[in-house]
């Protein structure tokens, strides 16, 4: 049973690390602000769930698990809100997405 938990948490941690890395590479190489936001939000939500889930399985039923659940809930609640607020601020300021009219970014520098 504990071997099963260990393997499961190992798998979750590896997948979490991979998704965090993929999101980071995406945020660097994507062509436009909005696509970069998509990439960054992958790390925030999927990466957080996998990594914190993996650690939770290692911790078992203890106070640490409850704190990890609180951290996970908080991250899942606030990082989509930050992305939404940032995207709407960028849109209101006039940044155009990449697909329209080529590289037409009018964002303030």
């Amino acid at each position: 049973m504990s071997a099963l938990l260990d393997t499961l948490s190992w798998v979750l941690l590896t997948l979490g690390g991979l998704s965090v890395l993929v999101g980071g590479i995406g945020a660097l190489r994507m062509p436009d602000l909005y696509t970069r936001m998509h990439a960054a939000s992958v790390t925030d939500s999927l990466g957080a769930i996998l990594v914190l889930g993996g650690i939770m399985l290692q911790a078992g039923w203890s106070l640490a698990t409850i704190k990890l659940i609180a951290i996970l809930l908080f991250l899942l609640l606030t990082s989509p809100t930050s992305s939404n607020a940032l995207a709407s601020a960028a849109l209101l300021a006039g940044t155009r997405p990449f697909a329209e009219a080529g590289q037409d970014e009018e964002a303030p520098k």
């Binding site: 925030d44 704190k67 990082s79 607020a85």
Partner: protein
């Protein structure tokens, strides 16, 4: 192994820093700071377990809060700056 996740998170933090330094517009930089913040939360959680001290998780929670408040402060700054610029433009005309 916790080390692999830590290395992945550190590399992602370096990439986000690169985006913060390079990013052509201000929104790219705000995005990079937000991403660095959430990666730091994950890093702190993993290292707290690496050290075997689960009561260090309070720091991760506090940092998640601070990151959120920082991004909202930046957006409020943009909003009031946009208001000020449009009012100056209106006053000039």
């Amino acid at each position: 192994m916790y080390y692999a996740v830590t290395i992945a998170t550190l590399v992602t933090m370096a990439l986000a820093l690169l985006r913060a330094v390079l990013g052509p517009s201000v929104y790219d930089r705000v995005l990079a700071v937000n991403m660095l913040g959430t990666k730091t939360v994950l890093l702190l959680s993993v290292i707290a377990f690496l050290y075997g001290r689960p009561d260090f998780l309070d720091l991760a929670l506090a940092y998640a809060l601070i990151n959120f408040i920082g991004v909202l402060a930046v957006l409020e700054f943009f909003r009031s700056r946009a208001l000020r610029r449009s009012a100056e433009r209106g006053a000039r005309q």
